[in-house]
Symmetry: C2
Subunit: 353 residues, 2 copies
């Protein structure tokens, strides 16, 4: 604390991201990165853009990227917002669309950055408990609110809400914005982007970090009615004219224009996820039904923190979330088949000790 | 306007950046880009980083970059903040260090994004007129305030305040943060980074956009007492964990570690600036004494808007700022010698018509 700080600063509880170890000799299954790496076309496009043209500012509208996304989703450019990772996109959403007199609603267990944004922008919020199966429970959202946000599939549970239920939620909340964070949608759930023309209160957030193995490039999106996008553009243009650098724009365009690579990588991850879920259930784990690139599981035979430490000793990093309802669970990212083989072998040894 | 927008959104007047023409057949002297392009070492580092490692998140602390900067400036890592261009760094500064009950003070003519940030964060501000020579006038800052910010050298005037006067300002305002935006300091003025150990209320902002010809990479910095930096880190970690992508970190590190290239490019720009200033004065222009990579000039023989249009017809883009005190001036970025030769030839023709 200091007399120089704006008063809000001392009240913040910043987000703590998953560990990014500088040691490369670990099996890193803690931050849901995609093990298959980016499309070769994306890497080639980035290398081509690493040229004299970097002396010039990027296109502040990132129009080439919006055009690629518009074509991919069959929507208009005016229905697309792009930013420096979905974290920046989410920040602008909280600032520009979720700061009202009434509290916003979000699940008690979801992406733990959401309450941090509320702190940053002085937004009041109320959590709604997931049901006993860790599913989003619609009944809790049937109350006056300043907006709703949740991840779908949700994190760290991996569970998706059915499209029919999302439509009911959108109809029930026609006076407030409903934000669906689809960071993990590529791995099995239905995207709601197709609903943006029908529901002017729907905003869908996506990212290239997991789906396109570009966590290191920082590119995220929001899709919604042009009126919602206009609010985000007004915030963005009052914050930073050029949030996406030239390399990020070039790499993102090439990645989106290579759907075959995306499809092949996501199918491999889904297959490995099913194999891991089965193997862990055989070892006695309770594994939630995941539609993401991670599994969320607990064991009656070992505590979650004990398991995290035992895996760490074997150079495998997984993640634990310190919340009463998730204290018994570990979240494990789907790695390559070889990485998951090592994990399963380690789990067998640890549980048999 | 919409019921879905947070109330602040409709009140914003977003910043309008200089034009980024998609036509490459123009001489672009409108947004102060460095014509000599980035260090080859920076381009090589970016290409090397365009690899499978992009599947991994960047280091959220960008420690490699902070270590390079700490070595370059002989300061501590804890005295350094990095962000997605100095525009993002400035946004966090306004939010985290300049939002107090008292109004902040800034020049009536300076970077026109400053009042936009005030709008975004609901910060009250008061402008202080530059003196009749377009210099920052210390007398106007001898009043109670919530902080002070100006560019030094200032934009679009190109004029720097002497270090002695900056020290006096820092002493006189020991209860508030004084932000010196050094976007253009590489081209002739003294940097105040050396004063951060002496003045706990000093924050210095820099960018690689102009000095290192990396406008397309989006990398900016703030330097100050660790206590000021902590406020910015708290804001940043409540906004976006990873504002710098892997390519930006790699390119920035390599650019900072190539001081010979930087020195050679800045010397060429300074020489061309002096040549252009002389040529324009011979054509009757009043040219302010620039310590930047642009000149700010007016002519008794032609109106500024008329000149902008006449140059545009000759495929040369320069910038005009629509403010009563700058209405007669054009701002011209220092391009290559060939570009500036074309500009001078065009000015001769236009003024002789």
């Amino acid at each position: 604390m200091s007399k120089y700080w704006s008063p809000i600063v001392a009240t913040l509880t910043p987000y703590v991201p998953g560990e990014q170890p500088r040691d490369n000799n670990v099996i890193k299954l803690n931050t849901n990165e995609n093990p298959y790496g980016p499309s070769p076309a994306a890497l080639a496009a980035i290398r081509a853009e690493a040229s004299d043209s970097l002396k010039l500012y990027p296109d502040p509208e990132a129009l080439a990227l919006k055009v690629s996304l518009a074509r991919y989703h069959a929507i208009d450019v005016a229905q697309i917002f792009v930013g420096n990772g979905s974290d920046e996109v989410l920040a602008h959403i909280f600032h520009g669309l979720l700061k009202h007199d009434k509290p916003i609603l979000l699940p008690d267990i979801s992406y733990s950055f959401y309450p941090v944004y509320c702190g940053l922008y002085d937004i009041t919020y109320q959590t709604v408990a997931l049901n006993e199966n860790f599913e989003v429970d619609l009944r809790g959202y049937a109350q006056d609110n300043g907006g709703i946000i949740f991840a779908n599939p949700n994190a760290p549970t991996g569970i998706a809400l059915a499209p029919k239920k999302i439509k009911a939620l959108l109809r029930q909340n026609s006076n407030s914005v409903v934000v669906i964070d689809e960071a993990y949608v590529a791995f099995g759930a239905d995207s709601m982007v197709k609903l943006i023309k029908e529901f002017p209160n729907l905003l869908v957030v996506q990212t290239l970090s997991k789906s396109h193995a570009l966590a290191g490039l920082r590119v995220g999106f929001a899709f919604g009615d042009a009126n919602l996008i206009e609010a985000l553009e007004r915030i963005k243009n009052s914050f930073n004219s050029y949030p996406l650098d030239r390399l990020a724009i070039a790499g993102a365009v090439a990645a989106i224009n290579d759907p075959e690579y995306f499809e092949s990588s996501r199918q491999k991850i889904i297959a490995t996820r099913e194999r891991l879920s089965l193997a862990m259930r055989r070892l006695g784990f309770m594994v939630l039904p995941s539609q993401t690139n991670f599994v969320f599981a607990s064991s009656p035979n070992i505590g979650a923190l004990e398991l995290v430490q035992a895996l760490r000793q074997r150079s495998i990093i997984v993640r634990h979330f310190d919340h009463p309802r998730t204290a018994d669970y570990v979240r494990i990212t789907i790695g390559t088949n070889a990485e998951i083989d090592s994990l399963i072998a380690s789990l067998e040894i640890i549980l048999n000790q």
